[in-house]
Amino acid sequence: NFVFSQVIFPVSRKYSPAPSAPRLKLVCSSELKALFSIDDIKLPAWLDGMCMAEYLPIIEDKLKSQLVEAGASIGARKCFIEALTPLFGRPLEADSMFCWKATFFASFGSLRFWCTLLYQPSFLSNNQLWCFKVLSHCGPLVPILLPDQVTVVILQHFNSQGTPVMSPPLIDYPWSPRWDVSKMAERIFDFLVEECMEFKKYCNDARVLKPPTLQQPVIQCQRRRVYQIQFDLLYLERKFAPGNLGAEHFPKHFFRHGGYL
């Protein structure tokens, strides 16, 4: 694993008393990219008369603290995943290196569904996103919110013919950065219990566009639920304007499998 800095010193024709600031760029190995975004690191300003011997230690220190922070984030995500297991069972699959995501399989009455907890670091630039998706052949997909981080809830359902249905993003789950992980897990559990009932009704309203065949028709969602974000603004790294976060705020790849909203 490595990070190196590319330095481009401009060469000009005429002599100037002080050399102009070089262009600097940080590049890291692909494995490190999975840990944090190198583009998010703001390079310190190059002061007049500075030289690389002075500048490099500053960058090194910054990178060290970034790595320490990233390591702590992994630890926090790992704890959270582990706190969900008493309520949701073992995960079907979890990212064991960086804990970006974990998926659980749960049931709600006759509905069975699976939930994926997804962390998308470059989402909404600067903002870190936990997404707890619940996929189901009869149930919802639910993202959750972690402290300091924005989470989006998307419901995905597969009906009895195996056809996927997706809902618009939902963002009104309870959270607080003051809660410890087991309390957060309980709150999410309660939230999912409510959401299961709502989404079941929601799916019953959805209309099938084509007769179900092996061609996987997509079910068009007829209603759009948009929520106010209820955050404790003091604890957010990035403040959101009150109002709705509609689908246009999310990158297209977020709605894979051609989900309609």
Partner: protein, 264 residues
Amino acid sequence: MMREGKEGESPNSTTSSSYTLQPIRFFNEDILFCIDVDFESQTEMKVSGPNGRPFTRLESIKQAILLFINAKLAINPDHRFAFACLGQSASLHRKEFSNKVESAIPVLRAITASSSSYGQADLTQLFRLAAHEAKKSRGQSRILRVILMYCRSSVPPSYHWSGNQKLFTLDVMYLHSKPSPGNCPQKVYDALVDALENVSEYEGYILESGQGLTRLLFRDMCLLLSHPQQRCLQDEIDFPKSLARKPPPADPTPIEENFSTPSQ
């Protein structure tokens, strides 16, 4: 069926101890579905389609596989899938692994059941194919899993597999008829368990159903979504958990003594 994981990590055996997410190197999967196309795969399930005709086992299996693929890709879009059929022996139906649902659909449609019974089911070729593919997968930092969908109630599978080759994980989904004088589903099941134990790299799961209900098949397919590197023993599977409201905590006031009924 205790088995060491590839990274030297032993599976989490857990009853009351809490789960820990082990920091092991995680590999994406190449999953090879092997579908039994014997005549018995045309046996009807107890659920009918929109035209009133009952689904056959093969149709339900195809639907279950599509559900699995959709779900697995939603969990992680980097898993890939290929297809083989099992008659007397196995043959690849689509050998390139792909993570596109759209490419799986025509492949599945093209799979048809035989109009007569094969006398035997030899898994040797399937295991050879899988071992070969597993080496290629390993070269791409992936692990290979075979999911065998077996439908015969009277024909236990056979195989020849030498030494300690455990290069891929094997899961089995067994759809069968109820036991009767003319069949031997228990013997078949035992043979499948035997194959699984001898061949599977990570903990393999075997699920069976004789009920003919598609929802049970779909539910069992969801259990097979679990990643081989992170599995617990099959007996210790603790999901799906039910998302039911917990009852309110019991009233802490003591029960009054007056309630005890005098014995007659």
